[in-house]
Amino acid sequence: MRKLIESLGRILIAFVADIGGLFIMIWGIILSVPTIFKRIRLIFEQMLMMGVRSLPLVILTSVFTGSVTAWQAAYQFKGLVPLEWLGLTVAKTVFIELGPVLTSLVLAGRVGASIAAELGTMRVTEQIDALESMGINPVGYLVMPRLVAGMIMVPVLVMFANIIAILGGMVVAVMLVNISYETFTDSIKSYVYIRDVVSGLQKSVGFGAIIALMGCYNGFNAKGGAEGVGLATTRAVVLASVLILVSDYIMATILFNV
């Protein structure tokens, strides 16, 4: 019993320490905002790494997301809902939910892991200490550019993902479900509102921040050698994925009135 209480206590202390550490990092980022223009080159480098280099993966994921959404919707509509609503269903689902959430989950795996591995390696090889020893604030130099890049590039990638997914859904609808192109697009034009698109993008700004913060925080706190970096990477991906799903629900309740 005593051992159980001790281990629960240790978990609680570690959790509180993590929350505290995360808030200290966020405070450090806020304090380094005035140096944002000095870091433009680093921000662009990160935008290239997170955005441009993730594009092929995002395109591939979204083609299949759109296609399967159209196919599954057609299957569920059969005999219950007219197929004229297929375009609307695919577009609304993609804009509001699947585009932002699935793209962010894919990016948590690709970008979040890469950030955690890079910063974790820098931590265990004392490169972060070396920055500090030269009087360079590592949060301003390493974390802030990644956070800004994440908050800009995830919504950009989500926009691409939305367009590709809807095109993928349209191809399936026109070629396999035998709905005309006009029927598919008319329902989108009539019933998809700008609010649907914007709210999805708003969510993805938050998801971008979560991916970058989890990668940076876990990488910064990596301990030991290769094993520590591996653990930090896993934690970054798992925590980012869980937080994306939790915050998705919270943001949905705020952004959409039922």
Partner: protein, 240 residues
Amino acid sequence: MIRLEKVYKSFGTNEVLKGIDLEINSGDSMVIFGASGSGKSVMLKLIMGLLKPDEGDIYIDGKNINELKRSELDELRTRFGMLFQGAALFDSMTVYENVTLGRSEHGDMSKQDRIECARRNLEMVGLAGTEYKYPAELSGGMKKRVGLARALCMEPEIILYDEPTTGLDPVSADKINDLIIELRDKLNITSVAVTHDIYSAFRIGRRFAMLYEGNIRFDGTKEEMESSDDQVLKDFLSHH
């Protein structure tokens, strides 16, 4: 002057430093030695403010570094140079970018002066012409020398060396020792080195402190060390 007063540091249940008192005067060439895992590198990181002590105070020229604001600590750190155990070069940067990073970040040197600073310091460490190589293209000894050039580019008043010769072949180790002696004698920079390599310690140091079980077991000159009756010190020296 660097002064440590009753400094304690633990990691979990492992008490590494148990009330360290040590003074290092300007111009000193101090070597802290002791067995692996005795807390030597931790002491250097505490002096740099990279770690915070659990108890006790560390003063640099009378300023308690635990009471400094982040910006004041960053300012103070520009007076230090540190050579890390594994050199800690930035993999994604060239040698030139590594050496001049501190200067370009602080914006206190023109690009032309930075190029000159890198050239001069790389020449000093015997690596002229390596400016556009990446760390992955360098040997362990060369990386340490680039690390030293990076520290020197900041024109430090105090240099901290963390195991400067560990992991190097005897020839490369001697090159590093020669460089440290040259810096000590020519530039009169205060230096603090931690090492378990007694041969290197005797070459580069003028004053020696032995760290043993979390305390300073011995503090004195080479002559005092050789004439000491302390059995623990004698054992350590005879095994190295």
